[in-house]
Amino acid sequence: MTPTEAVAALLRAHPGALFVASLGTATSALRSASGDGPHLYMGGSMGSALAVAMGVAEKRPDRRVVAVLGDGESVMGAGSLWSLAGLRPANLLAAVLVDGHYTITGGQPLGVPAAFADVARTLGLAAEVAASEADAERLARELLGPGLLEIRYDERIWPGPSPFVDSALVRARFEAAAAP
């Protein structure tokens, strides 16, 4: 499974959702899998994407929200797993794309345990691990919010589209997509 295939599975599971992607691989994969759809792509702010998704989920409780997160992103913003367990937004799914590396900085190893589902369960969140596209799609659909899906992919292929997004354009398109 490539990162783009992992994100494609999330899009099939939640075609009408509002997606937030962390910087780097997650943004490039979401741009690739969605044909550059009107999602909230992070050009920077590493570690903040899950918090951003919680803000979106709070404003739009009627919409499904999916946070597509890198593994390095998720350890940098690990406190947000605690906040997710505290706020418990019923409409939010956090999907962590795990390959054990900091891809955009040159592929350095993560250096810490990639135990996202285990930590989430300890915090009282619904959490699963998927290692195939079929499992990722099924579990993304089944997990009750707030939930965490750890997607372990083995083909470390750069998705393609640039992660350096036009932030004003991203915001304007997302605002329109998120409007009631």
Partner: protein, 169 residues
């Protein structure tokens, strides 16, 4: 201190009446009366783990069409700089930010001084204007003005709670 008519209550009331729908903070003693007044005005106040998270949460709430508020101590501004510089500023996702000052006139803790001295200059280096609240009577006016800057000009709009506020009592 928390009762009606205090500057904290006036600030919270003006923010709520101006359209603030929800707030996030990391607890702080000086901000607590404002948080309590917001909650009393039916504005939910979310407790997150780190100020940078509050900035991310508010940016997302804003991007989804809402009017959020963040309350933080100036030391938390140091924790938030990258989220402000790489998310709030370039994406134009402004919101009012109530900033309580430590490390200012009257401070006894040496650990607070550096961030107190540099909080407003750091904001200015990021291109953000800080609006200083010094007189209790100005609380509602600053709240309305900060909301206009956040909503209309799409900028982060810090309301800096200067020590003069409490000394003026």
């Amino acid at each position: 201190m928390t009762g009606a008519g205090t500057w904290q209550a006036e600030l919270a009331r003006a923010l709520a009446e101006g359209g603030v729908e929800a707030a996030a903070w990391v607890p702080d003693k000086r901000l607590a009366p404002i948080a309590e007044a917001l909650a009393a005005a039916s504005v939910p106040v979310r407790t997150l783990t780190r100020e940078e998270e509050c900035v991310g949460w508010a940016a997302g709430f804003r991007a989804a069409g809402g009017t959020p508020l963040v309350l933080m101590q100036c030391s938390g501004l140091g924790n938030s700089l990258n989220a402000i510089g790489s998310l709030v500023v370039p994406y134009g996702l402004g919101f009012p930010l109530v900033l309580s000052m430590r490390g200012a006139l009257g401070e006894r803790n040496p650990a607070q001084m550096a961030l107190g001295r540099t909080a407003v200059p750091m904001l200015e280096l990021l291109g953000i204007q800080a609006f200083r609240l010094r007189r209790p009577a100005d609380a509602a006016m600053l709240a309305r003005g900060a909301l206009a800057v956040a909503d209309g000009a799409r900028q982060l709009a810090p309301i800096v709670l200067e020590p003069d506020l409490d000394m003026a009592r």
